[in-house]
C-alpha cells in the first residue's frame, strides 16, 4: 500500500513537468500579453514594451521557463500580474470557496444520487424509476449556467428565500481564520456567520450538483441492477438472510465500486462547472478567478492553478483508488 502511494506520487513529476512546458509555451503563443490587459485602452507601444521588460517577458522563453522552474522548486508560485499579490495568497483566499462549493455539491449529489439510483433499481419499471431516469437525463442536458440563472431568478430574485450572490453577507463582518467560511463561523462561534455561509451555498451547490447527481443516479441504478442479478445475491437471499442485510452487505457494497470511480472522475468536471456557477452567483472561488486570469493573461496565476489542479486531480483519484479496498476487500492495492 505504501509503495503504491509512493509510486503514484512519483508519477506526478513527469505529469507536472510535461504539463508545465506545454502550458508555458501555449500561454505565450496566445495573442496579447499581461501588458495589454494591464493598460487597456490607455496602452501605447512604449508603455507596453516597458511593462514587458519589467515582467521579463522580452527574454528568451527558455530563460523565462528556467526562472519559473527555479521558483517552482522553492514552492513559490510568483506574483499575480493583475492583482500584484502572491499567487499563493490569492489561492488561499479563493480555494476554500471552491472547496466549500464542490463539497456541498458532492454531498448533495452523493446524498441524493445513491439512494435515488438504488431505489430506482429496486423499483425497476415503476414510476419512481422512470421519473429518476428521466429526471437525470434532464439534469445532464441542462447547462449549469442556465440552471444557475433559473434557480437564482426563482429562489433569490422572486421568492427571496436565498441570497443571490457572494459567499457571505458582508454586513455581518465575520472574522476570518481559514477562509472556509462555514468552518470559520464554527471556530469563532459566530453561529450567524456560519449559518449565513451555508445559506449562501445552497443555490450554487444545487446548480453545481445537477450533473454529478444525474450521473450518479444512472450509474448507481445500472450497477445495482447488475448486482441484483448476480448469483451470490440469489444465494444470500435463499440462505435466508434478511432483506436489509442482503441489501447492505451484498448489493450496495458491490454496486458502489463503479460509483466511486465515477465520483473521482467527476471531481474534474465539478471544477469546470464551478467556473460557471461561481460567475453566475458572484461566488468568490478559484474558478471565476482563473477565468478572469485568462483574460488578463496572468501567467503566474494560470501556471500555478494548472499545477495545483493537476495535483488535486491526481490526489483525488489516488484516494478513490484507495477507497476501492475499503469498499471491496478483494481489491488489494500494490
Amino acid at each position: 500500500m505504501f509503495r503504491f502511494i509512493v509510486r503514484r506520487l512519483l508519477q506526478l513529476i513527469p505529469t507536472l513537468l510535461g504539463l508545465s512546458i506545454l502550458l508555458f509555451i501555449w500561454l505565450r503563443r496566445l495573442p496579447g500579453g499581461p501588458e495589454t490587459a494591464i493598460l487597456g485602452e490607455r496602452g501605447t507601444p512604449e508603455s507596453r514594451a516597458a511593462i514587458r521588460r519589467n515582467l521579463g517577458l522580452d527574454e528568451p522563453i527558455l530563460i523565462q521557463y528556467g526562472r519559473f522552474m527555479k521558483r517552482m522548486l522553492r514552492l513559490d508560485l510568483g506574483v499575480s500580474t493583475s492583482t500584484r499579490r502572491e499567487v499563493t495568497t490569492e489561492f488561499l483566499q479563493r480555494f476554500p470557496g471552491t472547496v466549500e462549493l464542490t463539497v456541498t455539491a458532492l454531498i448533495i449529489a452523493i446524498g441524493v444520487g445513491i439512494p435515488l439510483g438504488y431505489l430506482a433499481a429496486r423499483k425497476r419499471g415503476r414510476f419512481l424509476d422512470h421519473a429518476s431516469v428521466g429526471g437525470s437525463l434532464i439534469g445532464i442536458c441542462i447547462p449549469v449556467f442556465f440552471l444557475a440563472y433559473v434557480l437564482k431568478a426563482i429562489f433569490a430574485e422572486n421568492l427571496n428565500w436565498f441570497p443571490s450572490s457572494g459567499r457571505q453577507d458582508p454586513t455581518i463582518g465575520a472574522t476570518r481564520v481559514t477562509n472556509f467560511f462555514v468552518l470559520d463561523g464554527l471556530l469563532t462561534r459566530e453561529w450567524d456567520a456560519a449559518f449565513d455561509a451555508i445559506w449562501h451555498l445552497v443555490l450554487p451547490g444545487i446548480a453545481l450538483a445537477s450533473i454529478p447527481l444525474a450521473i450518479i443516479v444512472r450509474i448507481t441504478r445500472a450497477s445495482v441492477l447488475e448486482v441484483l442479478g448476480e448469483d451470490y445475491v440469489r444465494t444470500a437471499e435463499s440462505k435466508g438472510l434478511t432483506e436489509a442485510v442482503v441489501r447492505r452487505r451484498h448489493v450496495l457494497r458491490n454496486a458502489l465500486l463503479p460509483v466511486a470511480t465515477s465520483i473521482g472522475l467527476l471531481a474534474g468536471s465539478l471544477l469546470s462547472g464551478a467556473v460557471l456557477t461561481e460567475t453566475v452567483f458572484a461566488f468568490n472561488g478559484i474558478g471565476a478567478f482563473v477565468a478572469e486570469s485568462i483574460s488578463n493573461r496572468d501567467y503566474p496565476v494560470l501556471m500555478g492553478f494548472i499545477m495545483i489542479i493537476a495535483l488535486v486531480y491526481v490526489l483525488v483519484n489516488l484516494l478513490v483508488d484507495l477507497s476501492y479496498s475499503f469498499i471491496d476487500p478483494r481489491v488489494r492495492v500494490r
Partner: protein, 553 residues
Amino acid sequence: MRASRPKVAIAAVAVAALAAAGCAESGRDGSSGNNKDTLVFGVAGDPKVLDPTFASDGESFRVSRQIFETLVRAEEGGTKIVPGLAESWEPDAAGTTWTFKLRSGVKFHDGEAFNAESVCVNFNRWYNSTGLMQSPDVTPYWQDIMGGFAKNEDPELGESLFKSCTAKDELTVDLAFNRVSSKVPSALLLPAFSMHSPKALEQYDASTVAGTATDIKYPSYAMEHPTGTGPFKFKTWDISNKSLTIERNDDYWGDKAKLKTLIFKTISDENARKQALRSGDIQGYDLVGPADVEPLAAEGFNVLTRPAFNVLYLAINQKGNPKLADVRVRQAIAHALNRPALVDSKLPPGAKVATQFIPDTVEGWSDSVPTYEYDVDKAKKLLAEAGASDLTLRFHYPTEVTRPYMPSPKDLFELLSADLQAVGIKVEAIPLKWSPDYLNATTSGSEHDLHFLGWTGDYGDAYNFIGTFFDRPKDEWGYNNKELFDLFAKADTTPDMAERAEIYKELNKKIMEFLPGVPISHSPPAIVLGKDVIGVTASPLTDERFFTAEFKS
C-alpha cells in the same frame, strides 16, 4: 466490527472540531446590524490597489475617492474644477508656478494635520520615484500627466512637467512646473494626486514597490493602510468575500458622512448585479446595462444618468490597406454609416450622435466642423472617384465586453457592417475577445482596417480626449500628420485658457477634415441605487461621493 468505522470517524471529527473551537477568537466588535446606516454597493471588479498613485482602474478610484481628497476637485455632477483641499489657486505671470491656499483644520485619518508641508511630501514622493515606481503600470497617471521623474531611469521617459514644491507657510504652497501645460491645474483633480498622510506613508513603506522585476509587489500601505483626509476611513478588505468596507470619518472637516458603513461588493457579472439588487443583497450598483435602465426605473429603483463624458468612434487604419489613406474613401465610410439610427436603436436614452471626438460639454468643442451625414449615393460616388469600388475591409469588434461608451459592440457591428455593405464595401468580420486579444490587435500592427474604441474623460480638458488619440503617430490609426501634431504641441503649451480653447476648435475642425476615424456617439452611462437611497449625484467623471448618501426614513 467493520461497520462501526464510519461512526468512529465521525466521532473523531466531532471531537477535533470541538477541540479546535476553543482556538479561534471572534474578532467582531459586535456593532453590526443596523441596516439603515450601512450601504452595500455592487461593483464590477475588485479594486487593484488602495493607493491611487498606483491605480488606473475605475474600481480603485471609486474607493480612493471616498477615502482621499485632492487639492482641486470636480464640481458635484460636473467637470469644472472647484476647491478641494485647496481653497484657491493662481498662476504667476509666466503660468508655470501655481500658488495654492490650503484649507485649514484638515486632519488625516491618523490624526496628523494637513498642511503645505504634507503637500510637498506627496509631490516629492511621486517626483522622486525610483526603480519599479517608474514602471508605466505602477505610476500610470503620474506618467500620463507629468511625463517623467526627477531622475528618469528609462531614456524613453520625457522631462517631468512637475518641477518643485515649496511650502511658503503653514497653508500656502507653490507648485512649480517646467512649462505651461493644459494639464495644470485641471488634472490635479485626478485620484492619482490624492493627499496621503506623510506619517502613514513613512510608517507603511508606501514608496517601496518591492520584488524583482518579474514580480512587482505593492507596499503594505497600498494594500492595507490607505490614510487620507476624506469623509470615509478604510476599515477592511475581505478578499475572500470580495468586499471592501469603509466607515465614517467622525473627524472630517466638512459635512460628515450620513452612512456609518459603506461596503463595496464585487459582482463581476452584469446580470448578477441586477439580480442582487432585486433580491436586496445590495442597495445599488454601477455599470448598468443600457437595456436595464428603463425596466429598473419602472420598478422604482433610483436610476441616475451621468452626463455623457465619453466618445465612441470607428477607427480607420491607413496603413494596412493603402486605399484607406485616400481621404475620399474615409469620407465615403463616414457617409455610409447611419449613425442616428444606431444611436436611436442601440444606445441608452440620452445618447447623442457625435460630430467630433469630444463631447459638447468640453471647452473647445466646435459647432463648425465638417459633418458627414448619412448619404448612400454620395458614399458610392466617393468610392468610385477614389477607384475603391471593390473595397474589402477587416472590421474588428470586441466580444464579451461592455464599456461605458459602448454597450453592445456586436449589435453596433452588425448595424454598421450592414451600412457598409449597402454602399458596396465588403466586410470581413473579425470578432475578438476584448482583453487582451482585441486591445492588442487594434492598437498594434496594421491588420485592423476598422475597429471600435472609445474613451471616458479623466478631467475636463479637450486634450484629454483628442490629444490622447491624435497628438502623435499611433499604430491604432497608422498615419503621420505633422501639421496636426504641431498644432497639438502648440495647444498644450498655451497658458491662456480662452486662447487654448480656440486652438482646440481649430484642431477639431482639422481632425474632422482629415477624418482619421468616424466619431459615433456620446452615450450617458447609468448608475442605480436602491428605492430608498437618496443623496447621490451622478458625475460625468464617475466621481460619485457617497458621504451624502442616506436611506430615506
